[in-house]
Symmetry: C2
Subunit: 430 residues, 2 copies
Amino acid sequence: MKLIKYPERRDWPELLKRPALNTESLFDTVRTIIDKVKEEGDKAVREYEALFDKVTLQTIIVSPEEMEKGIASVSDELKSAISLAKRNIETFHSSQRFVGEKVSAANGVTCWQKAVGIEKVGLYIPGGTAPLFSTVLMLAVPAKLAGCKEIVLCTPPDKEGNVHPAILFAAWLAGVDKIFKVGGVQAIAAMAYGTETIPKVYKIFGPGNQYVTAAKQLVSLRDVAIDMPAGPSEVEVLADDSANPAFVAADLLSQAEHGVDSQAMLITTSEKLQTEVVAEIERQLANLPRKEIAEKSLNNSKLILVRDIEEALELTNAYAPEHLIIETRDYQKVAEDVVNAGSVFLGSLTPESAGDYASGTNHTLPTNGYAKAYSGVSLDSFIRKITFQEILPEGLRNIGPAIEEMAANEHLDAHKNAVTVRLNALKEMN
Amino acid sequence: MKLIKYPERRDWPELLKRPALNTESLFDTVRTIIDKVKEEGDKAVREYEALFDKVTLQTIIVSPEEMEKGIASVSDELKSAISLAKRNIETFHSSQRFVGEKVSAANGVTCWQKAVGIEKVGLYIPGGTAPLFSTVLMLAVPAKLAGCKEIVLCTPPDKEGNVHPAILFAAWLAGVDKIFKVGGVQAIAAMAYGTETIPKVYKIFGPGNQYVTAAKQLVSLRDVAIDMPAGPSEVEVLADDSANPAFVAADLLSQAEHGVDSQAMLITTSEKLQTEVVAEIERQLANLPRKEIAEKSLNNSKLILVRDIEEALELTNAYAPEHLIIETRDYQKVAEDVVNAGSVFLGSLTPESAGDYASGTNHTLPTNGYAKAYSGVSLDSFIRKITFQEILPEGLRNIGPAIEEMAANEHLDAHKNAVTVRLNALKEMN
C-alpha cells in the first residue's frame, strides 16, 4: 500500500497508472491455436484440452446425465442463494427492456427502432480454483431475457473431465442451451468459427486470462463481436470522515483477493480514515485464506488523501474505476457528479460484493479506464436495435427535394435518382 | 450482375459470401504511423499530411476565419437541405434518450442505470471526391444530444489545405467543437493519443479506407473505443411482383455507385421482376456520372429468385444486410420477421437515400454481416449507462446471507467478509 497525501495535479497521470496490458504480443501464439481449431474443429479442440487442461475427453458436450448428477450434488443452501441472485438479476435486467417509439420527424415519414436479441451467443466461464457460477448468471440471465435463441457456454473441465456442479446448476437455472467442456483459446476459437459439435456464435462474452483475452480480441477484428476489452479488476472507495474504516478495509481487500494484478484505491478527504484503514487492512488480512494473493495485490494499492470532495471527484473521474464505492455523508449528492465509472455503490451498507452477486446489477464491467467509453454488460449487450422507416407520398414530397440536393452535392447521383424516379411517379399519378 | 434462380440451401453460404476483409495485414504499416504520431505529435502529423495529402499546413486547426468564409460559400439551397436533415436526425435521436428507472429487486435494495455522455469523442470524415457532410450530421448531432463535452472532427484537406465548405457548415450546424485538417491513419492516431493541438478522445467514429479501418482497429485493442468494425457498404432489396422495377433498379444502383466493392442484392419471388430489373439497371446506368464505378460494383451483384417470401426472409436473415429495402405487398408483416439487418426501409416510397440523408435515422450501420451482432450508430453509441445501487439495513439483511453463501463457494472470503462486517455492525446497533 502506498499512502499519498495531497498529490499535485501534475502527478495525477502517474498516480492513476494501471499495470500495462499488452495482449498484442500474444497474438502470434494465440493465432496458431485459433487457426488449427478453425481448420480441424473438434479434433483440434480435443488435442488442446489434452495439452492445456490435461484431460482426455470422451464427449465435449455436458450430457443430460452429467447435468442431473451435478445439480443433485449442489447443497440446498447454495441452490437457494443462487436462485435468489438469479431472481434479482432477472428483475433488474427485465427493467432494461427497450421498446422503440414511432417518431415522425416530418409528416409522412415514420422511423423507429426495434430491439431484437442476438440469435447465437457464447459465454466463456474460466476454470481455476474458484468456480465462477456468479458469472454464469450475469451472462446467461440477460441473454435469455433478450431472446437469444441459442446460448452456449464453454468452461474448462477439471482433470477428471468434470465441470463444477455449481456452474452446471447456475447454467441450468439461467437457461443455457448447451455446455461444452472446453477452455482457453480453443474455446474462443470454437465459438467464433464453430466445430462439428460446438455452434458458431455471433458474440462472445466473459472473462478469462490474458490468452483468452487476446483470442477474443483477435477473433473480434473480423469474425465475431465480443462484450468488451478486458483488464484486471479494480475498486475505488471514495470516502470522507464519516466512513467506517472496517468497511472500507473489507471492500479494498475483497478487490485485492481477486488476483495479484487487481487494484484497490482509496481516495479520501480524511487523514484519520487513511491511517485507520491501513490498520484495519492489516488486521483483516491476517484471517484471509487468499492472504498471499491479497498481499501482493496490495502493492498496487494507493490510499490517497485529497483536499476536498470536489478534488476527490475529479480524481475519480480521471481514474474511471470499474467499481466505485461512495462512503460519504451526502453520497447521493456526490454520486451526481460521477461521470466515469462502471458501477457505483452508495453508502456504508452497499459493498461491491452485493453487485458482484445478488443485488441485481451486472458484474461484467469496464476495467482499465474503459469506463470512459464503455458500459458494463446489460440487456443492451444481447440485443441489436434495428431501425425501420416508412415513407408515404406526403413524406417523400416533404423530404425528397432535400435528399436530392444533398445527394447531388455529395456527387452521388444514383442516390438522388432513387428519389427522383419516385417523385416523378407520384407526379404522374396525380 | 448474376441472375440466380431457386438456389439450393446448401449453396447459400457461397451465394452470400462477401469480399474478404483483411485489415490485419495492414497492421504493420499502420503501426509505424501510429507510433510516430504517438511519439512526435503535431510534427509527425504535419509530415504525414505532406506525404499523403500533398499539403503543407500552416495550422492544423480550422480557424474561425476559415470557418466563416467556408460557411458563407455554401449555397442557400444546400444550407436549407442540410438544416432540414439536421432537424430530422435531431428529432429521431432525441427520442432515443434513456432515462433509467429505480428498481427494487429486494426490499431495501435499489438499483438503477444512468446515461452519461462520453466526455470526448472524435469524428473522422474521409476526403476524396465526395464531401461527406451527411456523415458529419450523422455523428455530430447524436454526440451533441448525448452531452459529449468535447466533439472533435478530423478530415483530410485538399491540396490547397482547405476543407470542403459543406463539411464546415454541417460541423458548425451540428455543434462540433474543433475541426482539424488531418486525414488517414495520422488522424486516427492523433485522436487516440492526443498531440499538442489535437485532444485525445475516448471513442472514435466514422468511415474510412482500409488503412483508416486498420488504424481504428489497432488503437481499439487497448487505448480507445471505436464505433464498429467497417466493411464495404451494401443493400438488399426484398421484393415480390408488386414492386416497381424502376425503383428497385434505382435502389440497387444507388448502392453500386458507392464503390467498386459495394454489394447490391435483389431477393425476389417474381421471375418477371428479376428480368425487368436487369433491363431497368441497364437503362438507368447509362445516365449516371459514376457509371464506371457502378458497373464494376454490379459484378458483385446477385439477383436471386426464390420460391416464396418465407425463403426470401430466411435468406435475408442469413445475409444480414446493412440496408434492407422491403418492397412487397404486405411489407409491414414481412418486416416483423426480419431479425438480422442494420436499417430497414418499408414500401415502395422509402429508398435507402432517405435514411442516408434526411429521414432522421442514422446511416452509420453494420456492414459485412455484422448486423448479426451490432447495431448501427444511435444515441446509445455516445453514452455509457452507469449502474448505481443503494442498500439499506433491511436490504442487506435480505440479500446479505445469499452473498455470503455464494462468495464462500467461489472461495472469495474477503468478498464474504465485506458483507459479514456490515451485518455484524447492524446486529450490534440493535
